[in-house]
Amino acid sequence: MKKLTYFPGCSAHGTSEEFDSTLKLVLKTLDVELEDIPDWNCCGATSAHVMTENLAYALPMRNLVLAEKLENTTMGIACASCYQRMKVTKVHMDENPELAKRINSTVVEEGTYQGKVDVKSMLQYFYEDIGVEPIREKVKKSLAGLKVACYYGCLLTRPKNITNFDSPEYPVSMDQICEALGATATEFDYKTECCGASFSISNTEVVLNLSGQVLAMAKESGAHAIVVACPLCQSNLDMRQPDIEKQQGVKYDIPVFYITQLMALAFGHPIDQLKFPKHIVPVEGALANIGKVAPVPEKVKKPIKAVEAESEAK
C-alpha cells in the first residue's frame, strides 16, 4: 500500500466535500493510504498574498515543515488554490535559501524547513504517480457514451515555471484520465480560461460573464458534462449556472463533476456514495448517456497502398 501526505484545505470540509469524500473512495481502490498533516493550517489563499509576502509564505511554510515530519516524500493537495500557494512557496524557498531561512524564522517551533516533500495537485498525483494505465485497469464500469469537457482553470498548470506539470495552455492530463475511464474528452479550447474565481462573491457579474463563456464553449464542443479538479471552478460553473442561464437566456444544463466523482463511478463505487445530490445542476441527464454508444473500436492502421489509392482518388 502506497502512502500519501494529504492536505485537504478548507473547501474539502465545506463546499467541495464531495471532492474530498470521492477522492478517498478512489484512493482506496488505487490502494493509497492518506495521512493528514498533523495540525495543518490555512494556506493563506488569496487574502494572504495580497496583504503581505511574509504571511503568504509563512502559512504554507508551516504546513510544509509539518509535512516533513511524516515519512512520505509527496504531499497531495485537493484544492487548486491551496496547491498553488504551497507550490509557489516550495519553489521559491528551494530557489532562495536566504528567503527560506527568513520565512522559517517565523515558524521556528515547528522545525527547520528542508525542502524534502514534493507538492502535487491530486490531478498531478493521479497522472504522474499512479499513471493512466493503472487507472484504466481499475475501471469496472466504463463511462463510454459520456462526452466531457475537461476544464483545468487557471491554477493547476500555471505558471509553468512553478507547476512544471502538463501544458499551461492546452493541458491533456485530465482528458487522458477521462478517456481511460471510457468517456470521450471533447476538443475544448476554453480549458484554461478563467472562471472568475473568487469574484463570485465580491463581483458576481464578472463570474457570470467568464464562467458563462466557459459553459458556452463546453456546450459548443459537444460535451454532456464538465470535469474539474478545483473546488472554486466547480462552484462557479455549477452554482452560478442558473444565474448565467437566466442572464444569457440559454439553457445549458451541464453538470460539473469532480474528476474523482467520475473515477469513483467508473471504479464501481455505489452511486449513493458519490454525493451527486450536492450538485445544483442535476447530473442524471448527462449520466444517462453512459452506455448509449458502443465503445469505439481501436483504429486499424490501413495498409500503405490503400492510403495511396485514396490520395490518388482525391
Binding site: 501544458s167 499551461p168 495552455e169 492546452y170 476538443e187 479550447d189 476554453y190 480560461e193 464553449m217 459548443e220 495511396e308 490520395s311
Partner: protein, 657 residues
C-alpha cells in the same frame, strides 16, 4: 640601453572617464628606460600617430608602447606608424587599458588606474626585449569555397568567378536556389522571385570558373588563410549525373510518395526527385530514407524506365578534397517552429499555417496553383488573419530579436491575398511596422490603402475554434480593448532562426557563433563580412536575419574581400611563429601532438657536426604555424621559441609587476 616611448590614449571618454590617464603617464615616466611619455585624446587619429612618428625621430626611441584599446583593434595602425618613421613595426607593444581595464572596472577609478599602470609597466618591460621581425611571404591558392547555394552563395560565387577566380560552390540539397526559390514575389517591387533568381542559378551552373558540387557537405577544413584544404562529402545520389539527361521518366514512374519539402509538405514528391522543375542541376537524386529499392531491395522501377542506365543503387558517399584560399559561408536560415505558442492551438488547428506555407500556396508554381486554400477543407478563405512577431521579439516563448523581414513579407502577403481572392479581407495583428529600407515605407502605405487591410496593433492572446472558423482574440491597443476576429485562415509570421547546424559548422571551420547560432562577424560595424579567422567570410542570414537586397550586398562584399585577398601571388603573414633550436630538441614529438594546425613535422639531422649518424628533431612549417604557442608550453627541453613572445620578453613582463 633601450629607449622606450609610451603613448597613453584617452579614447575619448572610454578610457579617460575611468582611468586617470595623466597619473599613468607620470608613473611610466619613472621607469628609467622610458625616455618619452605623453597622452592624447585619440592616439589612433592622424595627429596621434604623428606624435608617435615625431617622438621616434626626436628621442631616438628603440621601442614603442601604446596604451589604448585592444591590439585586435589598432595594432596594425600603430605598427604602420612605426614603419612610417623608419622603425621596425614589431618593436611596438600595445597595453590594452580599455577592454582590460577602463571598460571592466567602471565602478572603481583607482583600481582601474592601478591596473592600467601595471599593464603599461608590463608592456614597457616586454618591449625592451623586443626584437626586429620581418613579415613572411606565403604562397596563395587562388580558389574560393562557397558553402551554401542560396541567393547569398550564388551571388558571392558569381562575383568571385566573374573576377576569374575559380570557385567551389557546395550545396547540401539537390539544387541551388535556397529559400528564395520558394518565394513567389519579392518586396517592395513585387518582382517574381523565380524570374530574377533562376537565370542566376543557370549562370552558376554554366560558369567556367564555378565548380558546382550539389547534394554535398563540408566535413573538414584544415590549413590557414590562403592555404586551406577542404574535405567535402558528396552524398550518394544513386544517379549518374554525367549520363542523366533529366528527362523525368524516373520520378513520374516512382511509386513512393514523400512530403514535398519545397512545398512545405503541402503536397507530395517521389522518392526519386528534383526539388522543383527549375532546379539546378536539373538532375534527380534518390532519397535513401524512403526508396523501397534501397530500403528493402524491391522495386527498381526507376532503373527500368531510365533508358540511359543512369540509376546506380550501389553508389556510395564519396569524400573529395579541394585546395582553396578563402571561404564564404552562406548557410542561410531556418524558419522558427511556432510549437511553443500553445494558446494559438498550433498543431491542433489545421487552418493555422506559417508564412512560408502561405507563400508556397500563393506561388504560381505552388501546390495549389497559386490559390490559398484552407488545409482543413480545401476551401478558399475569405477572412485571413496575419499575426506578426510569432517567435520574434518574444523573450518568453521565442527569440529576443526582430526578424527584420516579417513586416515586409506580411504586407506582401496581404497584397497577394487581395490579388488572388476577390472579396477577401486581411487582418494584421502587429507590434510595430518596421519598414526601414528603400521604398519599404511607401510599399506598406500603398498596400494598406489598396488592399483595405485592417491593421490591429496588439498581441493575439488566444485562438479557438467555433464551428469551422477560427476565433482570433487579441488586444487592440489603440482603442484599449480586447477584440475577436472570425478567421477562415490564420497565417503566422514565424521568426527567422539560425540554421540548427550552424554551431557544428562553426566548430568545423574554427569560427565563432552567437547565442542564437548565428555566425559572428569580426566587428559589428567595421568588419561585418569577415570572421575573426582570416580568410573566412559571411554572407546572408547565416550572420543575422536580413532581406534579399542586404543579402546580395553582403555577398558581393564577400566577393570583394576574396578578390582583395587573392590580389597578389603571395600573402604577407605575421612573423610571430615558432622556431626550433635543434641543439636542445630531444625529438620527443610532444609538440606534434599539441599543434592544432598540423604545422610541426619531424626532420632528421646529424647527431653532431660532420657526423653521419642522424637523430630526429621537430621542424616547424612556417607557412602553417599560427603562433599560438602551444608547442612552446609543452616543450620540456625549452627548445622552441615563439618570435614576439620569447622567454626574455615574458619574464621581463612578470618581473615588472
Amino acid at each position: 640601453m633601450a629607449r622606450v616611448g609610451v603613448f597613453v590614449c584617452f579614447c575619448g571618454a572610454n578610457i579617460a572617464d575611468y582611468v586617470d590617464v595623466p597619473q599613468v603617464v607620470e608613473e611610466v615616466k619613472r621607469i628609467k628606460e622610458v625616455k618619452f611619455a605623453t597622452e592624447y585624446k585619440y592616439m589612433c587619429s592622424d595627429p596621434g600617430q604623428g606624435m608617435i612618428r615625431d617622438a621616434i625621430v626626436q628621442y631616438k626611441l628603440t621601442s614603442i608602447v601604446v596604451a589604448a584599446c585592444s591590439p585586435r583593434m589598432h595594432e596594425k595602425t600603430f605598427r604602420k606608424a612605426l614603419s612610417d618613421a623608419g622603425m621596425n613595426p614589431y618593436l611596438l607593444e600595445v597595453a590594452n587599458i580599455r577592454e582590460h581595464s577602463s571598460w571592466v572596472h567602471q565602478k572603481n577609478k583607482k583600481a582601474a588606474t592601478d591596473k592600467a599602470m601595471d599593464l603599461c609597466r608590463m608592456a614597457v618591460a616586454k618591449s625592451i626585449a623586443n626584437e626586429q621581425l620581418h613579415e613572411i611571404s606565403v604562397p596563395v591558392t587562388k580558389r574560393a569555397l562557397v558553402i551554401g547555394g542560396g541567393i547569398a552563395g550564388i551571388q558571392a560565387a558569381l562575383d568571385i568567378a566573374d573576377a576569374r577566380i575559380p570557385v567551389v560552390l557546395v550545396e547540401r540539397s539537390p539544387s541551388i536556389g535556397g529559400k528564395m526559390a520558394q518565394l513567389d514575389e519579392t518586396f517592395p517591387t513585387l518582382d517574381c522571385a523565380q524570374c530574377i533568381l533562376t537565370p542566376k542559378m543557370v549562370d552558376v551552373a554554366s560558369h567556367p570558373y564555378i565548380e558546382l558540387i550539389p547534394y554535398s557537405e563540408v566535413i573538414e577544413l584544415q590549413g590557414f588563410v590562403g592555404n586551406y584544404k577542404v574535405k567535402i562529402r558528396k552524398k550518394a545520389s544513386y544517379v549518374n549525373f554525367k549520363t542523366c539527361t533529366g528527362c523525368g521518366a524516373c520520378w513520374q514512374k516512382c511509386p513512393v510518395k514523400v512530403p514535398n519539402e519545397y512545398n512545405m509538405g503541402i503536397d507530395k514528391r517521389k522518392a526519386i526527385y528534383t526539388p522543383f522543375p527549375q532546379a539546378v542541376p536539373n538532375k534527380p537524386v534518390i532519397d535513401a530514407e524512403h526508396c523501397t529499392m534501397l530500403l528493402k531491395g524491391k522495386c527498381g522501377i526507376c532503373a527500368k524506365v531510365c533508358d540511359k542506365g543512369s540509376i546506380d543503387y550501389t553508389m556510395q558517399d564519396e569524400i573529395i578534397e579541394r585546395e582553396i584560399g578563402a571561404v564564404v559561408v552562406a548557410t542561410g536560415y531556418d524558419m522558427w517552429d511556432p510549437k511553443p505558442y500553445e494558446e494559438y492551438g498550433v498543431g491542433r488547428f489545421k487552418d493555422i499555417i506559417t508564412s512560408l506555407e502561405f507563400e508556397r500556396m500563393v506561388s504560381a508554381n505552388g501546390p495549389t496553383n497559386g490559390l490559398p486554400l484552407r488545409p482543413s477543407d480545401g476551401k478558399v478563405p475569405k477572412n485571413v488573419v496575419f499575426i506578426k512577431c510569432v517567435g520574434s521579439r518574444d523573450e518568453a516563448k521565442g527569440i529576443e530579436y526582430c526578424s527584420k523581414i516579417c513586416c515586409m513579407y506580411t504586407t506582401k502577403h496581404t497584397i497577394l491575398l487581395h490579388h488572388k481572392v476577390h472579396g477577401s479581407h486581411a487582418y494584421v495583428f502587429y507590434m510595430d511596422i518596421r519598414a526601414a529600407g528603400k521604398g519599404y515605407e511607401e510599399f506598406v502605405k500603398k498596400a494598406q490603402v489598396d488592399t483595405g487591410t485592417t491593421y490591429l496593433r496588439g498581441r493575439v492572446s488566444k485562438i479557438y475554434k467555433k464551428g469551422d472558423k477560427l476565433m482570433v482574440r487579441g488586444e487592440d491597443a489603440q482603442i484599449g480593448q480586447v477584440v475577436e476576429v472570425e478567421a477562415d485562415l490564420v497565417v503566422l509570421a514565424t521568426a527567422v532562426s539560425a540554421p540548427k547546424d550552424n554551431p557544428d559548422l562553426a566548430r568545423l571551420l574554427g569560427i565563432s557563433y552567437d547565442k542564437y547560432g548565428y555566425l559572428s562577424e569580426a566587428h559589428p560595424k567595421l568588419r561585418p563580412v569577415e570572421t575573426a579567422k582570416a580568410g573566412i567570410f559571411l554572407a546572408g542570414c547565416t550572420q543575422a536575419p536580413k532581406d534579399i537586397p542586404e543579402t546580395v550586398s553582403q555577398a558581393s562584399a564577400c566577393a570583394a574581400k576574396v578578390c582583395g585577398l587573392f590580389a597578389g601571388d603571395t600573402m604577407k603573414k605575421d612573423p610571430m611563429i615558432s622556431t626550433i633550436n635543434n641543439e636542445y630538441c630531444s625529438g620527443c614529438q610532444n609538440c606534434l601532438n599539441v599543434c592544432p594546425y598540423g604545422a610541426i613535422v619531424t626532420d632528421d639531422v646529424p647527431v653532431g657536426h660532420g657526423s653521419k649518424d642522424l637523430r630526429t628533431v621537430a621542424k616547424i612549417n612556417e607557412g602553417v604555424c599560427q603562433g599560438c604557442g602551444s608547442c612552446v608550453a609543452i616543450c620540456r627541453s625549452m627548445a622552441i621559441n615563439l618570435a614576439g613572445f620569447t622567454d626574455p620578453q615574458i619574464i621581463n613582463e612578470i618581473v615588472s609587476i
